[in-house]
């Protein structure tokens, strides 16, 4: 199915070349980044990276780098296609380019279009352009929120509708797709693989002037066991801690207000799954605000992730889910002690500056004070809990062409 869709896109592109009057647009974006951590025991791995600044290298020159190119082909007023290839540090620890987008867009009427192929998964407000550093004020998407979902694209389709309403515009998006994902684990050379299938997504946004608000709900069936739990899989299965496939959902609420001289942006997200022992319920939010002085945008941000994966604190959920409640809690406590990685609660306070240094190039500096409760969500822990606050200094050069 996936390969067929890919071929459809390739065919469409080939048709485009053969077509009498196609319009092509070539563009790209990228980031060069340096990150320094004051902690040399654990890696700050930001969003699903196998390593980062800290244990591997206290000053890291690789983990934040991205290069991407995109080809848009407009065959006529109805049919167009997008192909985007991205190279960034992946979960296997290399920079092998991957196809991030490969889809055909069909304009049904001036309000509605349909897309088929490999699509971005718009679970977050900035999901669609989360790799495009230039498009954002900050250096990196707040990890506490953006690390809850491990995948960025899926194979399937979506339908998009846009209509003026009052003084503004209402946009609706309904998607149906399957997603494969990898979760980097610093202690294992091979990343955990998982699937989230039959994802049904509904996204609604409203923009008027400087205001944009959006609400999103997605659900699907999750098939995932972290590799560090595989030795315990048998026990977990018996007490109902692991099921082959279980329903999972994600809810997100977000808003931005950007009148020009200043801007604010905030999101609140909740992830749930019925096999809470492996993928605990997590809620997370951030608030970011900035001021604009010509080419300079100083900003501040606070982000928080609340993990309900600590079994001692979440007995009620375990009782609800587990066939053998007490045993479940017992196993959960052992897992907590031995493997520990479930309490991902973390807060980060960030201060930064974006400098639009020249056309299409932004230079950014950010200081982060990361406060993991134990293991945190942004770290690849190799030596047990982080258990201390970590300071990060980041410089990024973002560009688009």
């Amino acid at each position: 199915m996936i390969k067929q869709l890919m071929w459809m896109v390739v065919m469409a592109a080939a048709l485009g070349i053969a077509h009498a009057d196609p319009e092509f647009q070539f563009s790209g974006f990228g980031t060069l980044g340096i990150v320094h951590s004051n902690n040399d025991k654990e890696d700050y791995a930001s969003t699903n990276k196998p390593y980062g600044a800290g244990f591997t290298n206290q000053t890291d020159f690789t983990a934040d780098n991205i290069a991407a190119v995109q080809l848009d082909a407009k065959l006529n007023d109805t049919v167009s296609s997008t192909l985007q290839v991205v190279s960034e540090l992946n979960q296997e620890g290399n920079f092998r380019p991957r196809i991030e987008w490969a889809n055909i867009k069909l304009n049904i009427n001036k309000n509605t279009f349909l897309r088929l192929g490999r699509l971005g998964s718009p679970v977050y407000m900035v999901s669609d352009y989360r790799l495009v550093g230039y498009a954002s004020t900050w250096v990196r998407n707040p990890v506490e929120v953006y690390n809850l979902i491990a995948f960025s694209h899926g194979e399937g389709g979506d339908i998009n509708y846009r209509q003026s309403l009052g003084q503004g515009f209402l946009a609706l998006q309904g998607g149906l797709y399957n997603a494969k994902f990898q979760v980097a684990d610093g202690r294992f050379p091979v990343p955990n693989e998982g699937n989230l299938n039959k994802v049904k997504l509904l996204n609604m946004s409203y923009e008027q002037g400087a205001f944009t608000g959006r609400i999103m709900y997605a659900e699907g069936s999750l098939d995932f066991i972290p590799s560090r739990l595989l030795p315990l899989a048998g026990v977990l299965e018996q007490v109902g801690g692991i099921t082959e496939v279980s329903p999972a959902s994600f809810f997100a609420l977000g808003a931005t207000y950007d009148p020009g001289p200043w801007l604010v942006q905030s999101e609140y997200t909740v992830r749930r799954s019925s096999h809470g022992i492996v993928t605990p319920k997590q809620s997370a939010w951030y608030v970011m605000g900035g001021l604009r002085f010509g080419d300079l945008t100083p900003y501040a941000m606070f982000a928080r992730c609340i993990s309900a994966g600590s079994f001692t604190n979440d007995t009620a959920t375990a009782m609800e889910n587990g066939v053998l409640g007490a045993a479940y809690v017992g196993v959960g406590q052992v897992i907590n002690q031995v493997y520990g990685a479930f309490n991902q609660s973390e807060e980060t306070l960030s201060l930064g500056l974006r400098f639009d240094v020249m056309k299409n190039v932004a230079l950014k500096f950010q200081f982060d004070h990361v406060m993991p409760e134990t293991y945190g969500i942004a770290f690849q822990t190799r030596n047990g809990p982080v258990n201390s606050n970590v300071n990060l200094f980041t410089a990024h050069l973002d560009f688009v062409f």
């Binding site: 974006f29 987008w101 001036k110 230039y134 515009f169 639009d356 056309k359 932004a362 688009v400």
Partner: protein, 143 residues
């Protein structure tokens, strides 16, 4: 001509280009639209809508831009959308790299904008007030 007169003329020309760039919104003379608010104008140029407010709903708006770095362009977006070049570019980066919408086509000069508008019924552009002629219709800006 005296030397200082020439210098004065050059200075005047430079100043009028740099300081007195006065962008006006122009459309095809057959377009029924006659006035826009800054927000309505920026909605069209940022492609938030392709419908002319209160206009003929069959006419699809086709906005065109002047090149990056053009003084009239910068002044236009500052005035209409309260966005500088980088903010407009970041806005388009968000939409372009999601395959959602592509930015307006860039035309090289006011002459090219006028030529394009004269031959495209839904075209809308902006040029310096001094470049206006009968091939295009000026849209009044209302608050």
């Amino acid at each position: 001509m005296h030397y200082h007169t020439i210098v004065l003329r050059i200075l005047l020309a430079v100043c009028s280009a740099a300081v007195y760039a006065e962008p006006v919104v122009v459309v095809n003379p057959k377009n029924t639209i006659s006035a826009l608010t800054p927000e309505q104008a920026s909605n069209l140029f940022l492609k938030k809508t392709s419908e002319f407010p209160g206009g003929d709903s069959m006419t699809i708006a086709v906005p065109v831009d002047l090149p990056a770095g053009n003084v009239v362009r910068d002044e236009f977006y500052n005035k209409m959308a309260k966005k500088n070049y980088a903010q407009v570019k970041a806005y388009w980066a968000k939409l372009l790299f999601t395959g959602m919408r592509t930015p307006p086509k860039e035309l090289f000069s006011a002459e090219d904008v006028k030529k394009f508008i004269a031959t495209t019924s839904g075209a809308i552009g902006y040029i310096d007030k001094n470049a206006v002629d009968s091939s295009v219709k000026v849209v009044q800006l209302i608050q």
